[in-house]
Structure formats: structure tokens, C-alpha cells
């Protein structure tokens, strides 16, 4: 009896039943979040009729049509014209001709993807760079009106960014920043830098000043001490902050739709506009989305150890 009571109230070890419940909840949550992703992934490999079949098809013959359509533009031709072209030269030529079409050129998906990479990583780098310096300054130096400034920085997150869409649209048109890499990088940096400052300040605050003082006494300048001693210890924080910034900039839709059209358009507003015959080309949309997810997944996996430490920062003392 006593043994049971002890076990029930133990804080260090969970009972078998609570472990099972916790495990089931985690699996349930994973399923809820993974099913849409799995569905997108599968849809990318369906043929257009399969993708809109009702009831939905779980078992289907995989096809690369979605991916081919994603990267190409095509036009419908008469069978006689297709005959006259001779045998298809490549596997994707063949795939397209089965639907009585020929490839007329590449689609703009690749350009949009490159725009996303440049703008996403560019703004992430800039936000983390500025955030690191600002966080260090706020944490270590006597800054006049420090608390007010920090509150002001935080307050920029209190409204949804889209609330300022119209002023920004007008300003950008005046400044010639509409539909440019620079404009989008600046915009996403401005949104992310407040998050970066606050997140990173927490990390810098946790690094004892003694490290820098030791380095300074050992002959290093304040800046060298920052580079050699503080920065390496901020790795986890910087990784976590970079992921958060990248996810925002990568996924941002509303401003991208509003401010970009031709040259600097990112992938999010482009993907839903992929039109096939008779409406949206769902396999191509799904294929575009799948590929769009790859960099974030790659980055998160790459930084997952740092990220885990970063997200739980402050919860456990070293």
C-alpha cells in the first residue's frame, strides 16, 4: 500500500499507465499534424483524375505527372501534330504526350523558388545578425530608456503585420521597393528582428558576464571577447532563432501576394495559382508544396540538437 502511494506521487518516475497515456497523446498529435502533410505528399504523385477522385483514393498508381507539370508549361496539340514530331525523346516528353500535349518551356516555379531562398535566408540572416548585436547590447550595456525600447520592440508584434499592409504598399511603391528582393528582405527582417532581439536577449542574459571579463583580463578586446567567448555559447539560441525567423519568412503569404508579382514573387503566392486544364492542377500544386517544405525540414533536422536546447531555454539551469 505504502509502496503504491509512493509510486503515485513520485515526481522523478512516471507510472506505467501515465507513460502509456502520454505516449498515446503524442502519437495522436503526431497523426493529426502528419496526415495533411502525408496527403500533400501522396497527391503530388497522383494523376490529375486520381487527385480529385471521390471517394478519395488512398491506393493509386504513382505518377510523376504532377512534378512534370510543376516545372513545365505545355500546350494541347492534335494527335496528327504529335505523330509528326516523331517518338518522344525523354520520359517526361512521353508522359506529356499521353495527354495530347507538348512541352513548350520551363515553368516559373524554379524562379519563384530561388526568390524564396534568397528572400527567406537573406532576411533570416539579417534579422539574426541584427538581433544578436542588439540583444548583446541590451543585455550588457547601460542603454538609455532600455526598458522602453525593449517594450517598443516587442510592441511591434502586438498587431498582425498585415494591419500595416496598406501603408507599406504605398511606401514601397514610392520608394521603388515593390517587387524587389531588397524590399522583401527588408520587410521580413523588420518583422523578425523584434522576435530575434527578445529571444536572443534571453540567451545572452543566461551567459555569465565572468566569461567576457575573464577574456578581457586575458588581453582580449570587448569585441574579441564577444566573438570568441559569447558567440560560441549563443549557438543554440542563434539556431533556434534562425529557424523561427526562417519559418516566418519562408511561409509568409499575404505580403508576398500584395507586394510581389513578377520578378521577386516568392513560392507561396505562386503555388496556388498553378492552373491545369479545367481548374487547378492539384498534383502540381501538391508537388510544389512538397518541394517547398524540403529546406525547412532539412534545416530543422540539421539544427535539431541546438533547437531542442534552444526551445527549452531558461527552463533548466545548466
Amino acid at each position: 500500500m505504502t509502496a503504491n502511494t509512493n509510486k503515485a506521487f513520485s515526481v522523478s518516475e512516471a507510472s506505467g499507465r501515465s507513460k502509456a497515456i502520454a505516449g498515446a497523446l503524442v502519437i495522436l498529435y503526431a497523426l493529426v499534424t502528419m496526415i495533411p502533410l502525408a496527403w500533400i505528399f501522396l497527391t503530388g504523385f497522383k494523376s490529375p483524375p486520381d487527385s480529385i477522385a471521390y471517394p478519395p483514393k488512398v491506393v493509386f498508381t504513382p505518377s510523376l505527372e504532377g512534378y512534370v507539370n510543376l516545372f513545365t508549361t505545355r500546350s494541347r496539340q492534335t494527335p496528327e501534330y504529335l505523330e509528326s514530331l516523331g517518338p518522344p525523346r525523354t520520359w517526361y516528353d512521353k508522359l506529356v504526350r499521353e495527354r495530347n500535349m507538348v512541352i513548350t518551356g520551363p515553368s516559373r516555379y524554379k524562379d519563384r523558388y530561388v526568390n524564396s531562398l534568397v528572400i527567406g535566408f537573406g532576411s533570416t540572416f539579417l534579422a539574426v545578425f541584427l538581433g544578436t548585436l542588439a540583444a548583446y547590447g541590451f543585455s550588457r550595456f547601460k542603454v538609455p530608456l532600455k526598458d522602453d525600447l525593449l517594450f517598443f520592440i516587442l510592441s511591434t508584434r502586438m498587431m498582425p503585420p498585415i494591419a500595416v499592409a496598406i501603408p507599406i504598399y504605398l511606401m514601397y511603391r514610392q520608394l521603388g521597393l515593390s517587387d524587389t528582393w531588397l524590399g522583401m528582405i527588408l520587410l521580413y527582417t523588420a518583422v523578425n528582428v523584434s522576435l530575434a532581439v527578445w529571444l536572443l536577449k534571453g540567451f545572452v542574459d543566461e551567459i555569465p558576464r565572468e566569461y567576457e571579463e575573464a577574456a578581457v583580463i586575458d588581453g582580449y578586446s570587448r569585441f574579441q571577447a564577444f566573438i570568441k567567448v559569447v558567440l560560441p555559447q549563443m549557438r543554440a539560441g542563434i539556431a533556434a532563432t534562425a529557424i523561427f525567423c526562417l519559418i516566418f519568412a519562408w511561409n509568409e503569404y499575404a505580403f508576398a501576394l500584395l507586394l510581389t508579382s513578377g520578378t521577386a514573387q516568392t513560392a507561396p503566392p505562386f503555388i496556388p495559382q498553378i492552373i491545369g486544364e479545367g481548374g487547378l492542377d492539384w498534383p502540381a500544386v501538391a508537388a510544389g508544396t512538397t518541394l517547398f517544405l524540403v529546406p525547412i525540414v532539412f534545416f530543422t533536422v540539421l539544427l535539431r540538437n541546438q533547437l531542442l536546447r534552444g526551445i527549452t531555454f531558461g527552463a533548466v539551469r545548466k
Binding site: P208, E210, Y211, E213, A214, A215, V216, I217, D218, G219, Y220, S221, Q224, V229, P232, Q233
Partner: protein, 365 residues
């Protein structure tokens, strides 16, 4: 090797005076301990010597050169922090060699000197380990290694043993003192632990509320405290204080304590206040039936080597250290004889000890 001179040092944090008017001189090669309760300004003083804080007023001389406003990096001083401040992203070797890498010392030379220091501190087997897994004693040794590798002019220690377990502390205390004797560098050591101070120091500087109260050898500080605070702060159990009659002329050799007359060292200055206070250490009181003070035994603590007897006298409660052979019962009435050569007389108005024969025979210390 260097002499450190601190002149009229003051430090204010806003309205709060952390240090006011600190002055002392640390001799070349000396082990100088700054002792005081927490918040007394000892660490702030040390940080000003290091250049980590800038003084509000005053001067700091290092070997005669004014370094008051010199950057910490340019002072050629080594500092050992309380929590060691070992860089967690470097292994032991890189931690120790960190100061040398700044000075662009050649690789082979760095290697040789790290090995030399590691030998001295007996941490050669740890050089390639990360600092994270080290025991606190080993961390302490690595921190020392990083301090001594540069052969700085002076070493500053900020409560370096504070974070160690009790048993390690005894060991490291000995090691530190031996290391100092071997290297012979000027060392300033901050602590609030009087045992550390007494056992390691060549001289002790006692601070309280931002002020230097007394600088002297451990024996001086213990036997000839200059203020009531120093008298009470040093020694465990602490000194007994009893109210006494004032109005003493220069040359007085007796003092009234609750009707009894106690012999004391000859006063070399008069006390015109109507009241005085005397201080006497527990080991300087003898239990004797014919003693001038009498009281009832309140408690007896047997500590092995001796026993500590608490006696309630009409003048006040006294602690007496008695031999461990004597049998003393609670509630017994005993007589007490303070050692007349050991009594310190304080002026209760400013808590200063009056100059007397206690402080040297001919007025010299």
C-alpha cells in the same frame, strides 16, 4: 611581480557607496587577503584593481605606474573568478592557453608552457577533456592554470574557494598557498571566510561597509583589533564584549566592570566618555574560584580539544574556552579571571579600540 597601491578609492553605484575611501598597499610578492562580510566592498575594490570597474574617485598604482584608467587588458593582471568562468566550448588545454593565443605566442611555446603549468597543478591527464565534466576541484585548478600561464604581474582571486565542497576547500587552500610560495607573485585574495584569511594571508585587510578598518598580519588582526567590528568579526566563537565604566585617564591600568576592577594593558590615551566597553576572547578567560567576575554556568559544549562554557554574570553573558579535563556542571557558580594583558577597551561612541599597551610596548606596532 608588482606592488599594488590603492589610494583613496571610492566607488558609487548611483547613490550607494560600495567603496568609500579605501587605501592600502600590497607589497611585492605578498599574499594579501581582503576579508569582510558580503556587501562590504571587497569584491568591488578587487574589480577596480583588475579594471573591470572604474573607480568614482581615487588612484590605483601598479608598480608605481598609475593604471586607474587603463583598460583591463593592458594591466597585465590575472583574475580567478568565483565560479571559475571556464569557457564551456573549449577543452582544458584551450582554456589554459586562451590568454597566450591572444598574445600570438608560437604554437610550440604555447604547448610547452601549458604542459609546464599542467604539471605544476597536476592536471596533465585532463588536458584534452572538455571542462564540462570536471570536478569542482579540477575546474579550480584549470582556472588557476589559465591565470598563471601568462606570468602576470599580480593575481587577483575573487572568493575562488567559495564554490567548492568543504573537504576540497581545505585541500585547495593549502595548494593555493603552496602555489603562491612557489611562484611568488603578488596576490590579492577576497574572501568572507576568516579561516581562509587567517590561514593563507601574509596580511589581512578587514573591510566593512565600504571602509578599510584594519590592515595587518593575521596575528595582529586577531590579538590587536583596532575596532569593535574587527574584534567581533574575527574569531569563532567571537570575542566577548562587556559594558564597563568610562572616564579613564591616560595611563589607567584598571577598569570597572559591574563593580569589579579588572586589570588591563596600560592606556596610552584618555577616554572621556562616561561609558566604555571591553573585549576579551574566550580563550583569554580562566576559570578560577577567586576570579573578579562570578557567574552561573548556563551551558557547556564539549568540543573535544576543549570545552566552551557559557557563563551568565551580572555584567553579561560570557563564553569561556576551558581545558577538556576540567569537569564543569551546568548551574554551577564559577569565578572568572580575564587575562589582564589581553583586554581591549573600546570607545562605545565610535567603536574604536583605545590605544594601550596591547598595541606594542613603546607605542610602536
Amino acid at each position: 611581480m608588482a606592488e599594488i597601491t590603492v589610494q583613496g578609492l571610492k566607488k558609487y553605484f548611483g547613490d550607494f557607496a560600495a567603496v568609500h575611501d579605501s587605501s592600502f598597499r600590497v607589497h611585492d610578492g605578498e599574499f594579501f587577503v581582503m576579508l569582510g562580510p558580503s556587501g562590504c566592498g571587497k569584491t568591488t575594490t578587487l574589480r577596480m584593481i583588475a579594471g573591470l570597474e572604474l573607480p568614482s574617485e581615487g588612484r590605483i598604482l601598479l608598480d608605481g605606474e598609475d593604471v586607474t584608467w587603463l583598460r583591463a587588458a593592458r594591466r597585465d593582471i590575472a583574475f580567478v573568478f568565483q565560479l571559475f568562468a571556464l569557457y564551456p566550448h573549449m577543452n582544458v588545454r584551450r582554456n589554459i592557453s586562451f590568454p597566450l593565443r591572444m598574445e600570438h605566442v608560437k604554437r610550440a611555446e604555447i604547448r610547452r608552457r601549458v604542459d609546464e603549468v599542467a604539471d605544476l597543478l597536476r592536471i596533465g591527464h585532463l588536458l584534452d577533456k572538455p571542462v564540462g565534466g570536471l570536478s569542482s576541484g579540477d575546474r579550480q585548478r584549470v582556472a588557476l592554470g589559465r591565470a598563471i600561464i601568462r606570468r602576470a604581474k599580480a593575481f587577483l582571486f575573487d572568493e575562488p574557494l567559495g564554490a567548492l565542497d568543504a573537504e576540497f576547500r581545505d585541500l585547495m587552500r593549502e595548494e593555493l598557498r603552496q602555489l603562491h610560495d612557489r611562484i611568488g607573485a603578488t596576490s590579492v585574495y577576497v574572501t568572507h571566510d576568516q579561516i581562509e584569511a587567517m590561514s593563507m594571508a601574509d596580511r589581512i585587510c578587514v573591510m566593512e561597509r565600504g571602509k578599510v578598518l584594519q590592515v595587518g598580519t593575521p596575528m595582529d588582526i586577531y590579538n590587536r583589533p583596532k575596532t569593535r567590528f574587527v574584534a567581533g568579526f574575527i574569531g569563532s566563537p567571537s570575542m566577548n564584549f562587556l559594558p564597563a565604566g568610562g572616564g579613564l585617564p591616560k595611563g589607567a591600568e584598571e577598569i570597572r566592570v559591574n563593580g569589579a576592577r579588572l586589570k588591563m594593558p596600560r592606556l596610552r590615551e584618555p577616554l572621556d566618555a562616561p561609558e566604555a566597553e571591553i573585549g576579551i576572547r574566550p580563550e583569554h578567560i580562566r576559570l578560577a574560584q577567586d576570579g573578579p567576575l562570578r557567574g552561573r554556568v548556563f551551558a557547556v559544549e564539549y568540543t573535544g580539544a576543549s570545552q566552551l562554557v557559557t557563563v551568565d554574570t551580572p555584567a553579561g553573558r560570557l563564553k569561556v574556552r576551558a581545558g577538556n579535563t576540567q569537569r564543569i556542571d551546568e548551574d554551577e557558580t564559577v569565578g572568572l579571571t580575564p587575562d589582564p594583558r589581553r583586554i581591549v577597551v573600546f570607545d562605545p561612541r565610535d567603536e574604536r579600540a583605545l590605544d594601550s599597551g596591547l598595541f606594542g610596548e613603546d607605542g610602536h606596532e
